[in-house]
Amino acid sequence: MRLVDIAHARSGDKGDRADIGLFARNAADYAIIRRTVTAERVAAHFRGIAAGPVEIWPLDNLWAIKIVLNGALQGNAARSLRSDNLGKCLAAALLRMEIETT
């Protein structure tokens, strides 16, 4: 299963930091996300994009986790050479991640 099957997400930028909000549709899926979407897994998934550490901030009240990818935007959007200079597609890229549901 991929994250896109049980969650939705939006990404944004602040300087060299890309951030992704990841949202489960219900408590059961939130539990799966909490278990499977770890800083280590996310860092491995974004290898080649995020140079710095990955932070995970869970929000039980929203069935959501905030993910911060440090060093992910080539300095910042006005310095980046990438077409996706704002990291708008990084949330979609996260949704492609394979997860184990059992």
Partner: protein
Amino acid sequence: MGVRIGAGLGFYGDAWAPVAATLARGEVQYIGSDHLSELTLAILQKDRMKDPGAGYTRDLVPMMTALWPAARQHGVKFLLNAGGLNPQGAAAVLAAEFAKRGWQAKVAVVTGDGVLDRLDELQAAGDSLAHMDTGADIASVRERMLFANAYLGAQPLVEALRQGADIVLTGRVADAALFMAPLIHEFDWAWDDWQKLAQALTVGHLLECSGQGSGGNFNAYGEHGWQSIPDYPHLGYPIAEVSADGTAVITKAPGTGGRVDFDTLRQQLLYEVHNPHRYFSPDVVLDMGTLRLTDLGNDRVEVKGASGLPRTDSLKIVGGYADGWAGSATIGYCWPQAYQKARATERIVRQLLAERKLDYEEIHSEFIGLDSLLGPLADTSRADELNEVYLRMLVRTPDKRLAEAFPRQIPWLGLSGPPTASGFSGIEPARALLGLWPTLARRELIESQVQVTVTNT
């Protein structure tokens, strides 16, 4: 009685037709319009380098010209950060346009956020101005600094409203301050009522990105995903209906497209947030961990429970400095072997750059239609079957002439390289790159210079 505030623009270049819908049917008293981002200040700086009278967002005058008659009719006040790097210049062109049309309005201008010419003074007063994230010394970029602006809070905007302003024009203020100020003004909330200020900050954050708070850019798939958002062409921007105790309902104007529900709203709530338990603003620090979003149905979501912590003693400054140049070119190839041909061209160009000793700091390649947006995360397993693909190459260099030289290496390959080259982008001009310098300065050193000037057009 509650206060109703509507979202204006969410960025420089955003549409104002949805704001017209809010004015006509949204029953709002205020519109907060956010024209700035980190990237926008860089764009405005480029404008200002060409013309010292520029530096504000040029959508201000056409937008206010289009919206003011309805705003006047419904008694709606505007707060806009469209002043950018030149709020006084923005106010002058707006006043001239209003005078030409015989329109009268009380316009307030907030200044004092620009600190480029005060950096030495701030350092002398004891602020290191070191990079907030890396701790690097500002001396490394000081000579190349092109702008530096502090994020002001809601206080000068509240002052402008107290003086009866119809239109409040600012430069760099915290985005949410544009929405917090009317609430603080109307309800006379105390500056240390952290819970209410935290609710106000939450409301501002939910409204500051226009359509992103009402179903736009809703990155969800499947049954209730983006395809289920009604009527994109007439998507309505969010409206907040706030009570004196800070409780808010987020909604939108009747008859507009889009959707305000638990899902669309929480996507915006966490947007561009780092630590959600310490969301900093100049006026309060918000902890989102206690927020409750309750879907009331019919595009109405109740927002309550925000926790507020006292504001900090410092304000954030973001500076921008010249950080080299980019040269770029794009060229397309069609089936058969579109991707192989584009890859071959990329290798040829890299080889020629090396042979010709064109020494770039970085050479970046993307294949539009394959990996230009997902980069190393793209699935390239079917690359060989693509109907067409574009090679986009960019170089980074401190030397503008070297950046300009780059696209000139490409055109001859149309006749003398791999077959079917087409859709060449032409000799694109070099683009100035900007580094950003986020730092902190003591609040009183900034706020002591902030001024609010109110004039009648």
